[in-house]
Every structure is written in C-alpha cells, then in structure tokens.
Amino acid sequence: MEQTNEMMIEFDSRSCNESFARVAVAAFMTQLNPTLEEVADVKTALSEAVTNAIVHGYENEVRKITVHCRIEGQELFLAVTDKGRGIEDVAKAMEPLFTTKPDSERSGMGFAFMEAFMDEVQVISAPGEGTTVRMKKKIGRVAGEYMD
C-alpha cells in the first residue's frame, strides 16, 4: 500500500503569516526527500495561493486561511482555502498578467507562477463563498534512493 501522510494548518490572513505557511509546508514535505529546487517551487506556488487569499479573497480583512497538505507515495497535494469573496470568472483570473488590482501593484502573475512550478493547479470558487486552490506536484527522487 502507498504511504500517505496528512497535515492541516489554519492561520489568520495576515501577510506576516505567509512566511510561516511556506516554512510549515516546506518542513512537512522534507519526508519526500525533495531537492532544494523542488522545495523552492512548492514554496513559491504556496506563497502565491496564500497571498491571493489575503489580498483578493479577504481583501486584507483578517479571517482564516486553511492549508491542507497530503502526501501520497511520491506526490504532494496542497489545498489552500479561504471563505472570502470568491472568483467570478476563474479562467479570466488565471490568465497571465490579468489582475483586478493593478493599482496596488499586483503583477497578475500569481496563477501563472503556480502553474509553472506545480504539475497541476485546479481552482474551485464561487462568488461570495470563497476559493480553494488545489495543487499537485510529484517529487522526483525516490525516498531512500541514495541509502544502502
């Protein structure tokens, strides 16, 4: 049977918690024996999702963000959930350089970065109900490969 492991964290949607979420997920994924680059990729993608929840989902109001992490075999699954305003047109939101907040210097590259650094990105959202971003990445190196 494939090995599975799970963890979930919930924190306030404050920008200072972005680094906390990154470090927590990075620490959790170390059991997959990832390369430094794989860790950096996951951290970047997660950071984008959490920043989106803070800036767009809650529009800087302090509420709760949940990060759910699951390991199945060599695959890492992430789900970042907010109960904020939701996205009306997900396809439009995912277009590179599209942003609803150009004035506050959002680059519109968030989803593009998530897609670049993860294998799969799925967005589940309804206006007024919130957004969940699900991401998947296969961590290449087989655990214990370099051990005797």
Binding site: V23, E105, R106, M109, G110
Partner: protein, 154 residues
C-alpha cells in the same frame, strides 16, 4: 533558524520605517508624542537597520532586498523606497539580491511599480547579484525585458 532570521529582519524593518517617518514628519500632539515614546525604545538599532535596506550614493538608491521577498516584505520595501524617492533626487534604483533566496509575484509587482515610477521621471532600474532562483523568477515574469539584470555586482 531561517524563520527566526526573518522575524528579526521584519521586526527591525518596521523600526527603520518608524525612523524615516519621524525624520520627515515631526509628530505633534498627544498621539504623536506617544508614538515617539514608543519609537525611542527601539531607536538604538534604527540607523543601522535603515542602512541595512537602503543606501543612497549620489543619485543611486540601492535596495538590499531581504532574504525572502514576498507580499509582506514587498509592501515594506515599496513604502520605504517611495519615501526616499520622494525626498531625494534619485535617478537609478539598484535592487541587490545578494542575500535573497525567495521571491514570488508580489516581488515582481513591487519592482514593476518602481520601474514605472522611475521611467516616468526618466530614471532606470537594475538588478544585481541575481542567483539562479531569482533569475528564473525574473525571466518567467518577463520583467527582464524592462530592467537590466547582472549576476554580479555592477
């Protein structure tokens, strides 16, 4: 280890920002003096920390980008550099990525914003000491078309 370093950096940064605020706007009234009182306690390290992030050489503003440039730090760098640009005659912003090992799209947004401001005033923006990771992010975002990137210090 990495996390505590960040915490220390961000903490000292707000102190540095408070120092700039006090320089430009003299606080008046009860509220202002209370803020000044609060500021006094952390004043000791302020001057050093301010130098830690921003350095001005003639018309060049060097921004020493922190270890992790995310939304949280990008907002602080944005406020700090804009205040300096407003008050000083800055013609070039140099983003120094020497100690940076993490950046996301919020960092891109911040650099893009500074680039727009500088171009409006006829200035330039460059990035120096860019490592592989940061280079990848800058390339992916397309920002390399607008700013010059150097792998070493220029």
């Amino acid at each position: 280890m990495e996390d505590s370093e960040n915490h220390r950096l961000s903490g000292s940064f707000s102190g540095a920002m408070a120092a700039v605020k006090r320089q430009s706007i003299q606080p008046s009234g009860a509220e202002g003096s209370a803020e000044a009182e609060k500021g006094k306690k952390i004043r000791k390290g302020d001057a050093f920390c301010m130098e830690d992030f921003f350095r001005i050489d003639g018309t060049d503003l060097t921004v020493r980008v922190p270890a992790e440039l995310d939304h949280h730090m990008a907002e602080k760098i944005k406020k700090g550099s804009d205040r300096l640009i407003e008050n000083r005659n800055i013609r070039r912003i140099i983003f120094d990525f020497q100690r940076t090992h993490f950046m996301d799209s919020s960092g891109i947004g911040m650099i893009m914003g500074r680039y727009k401001n500088m171009r409006f005033m006829g200035g330039a923006v460059i990035a120096v000491n860019v490592n592989d990771r940061i280079h990848r992010i800058l390339t992916l975002s397309g920002i390399y078309k607008m700013i010059d990137i150097y792998e070493s210090s220029c």
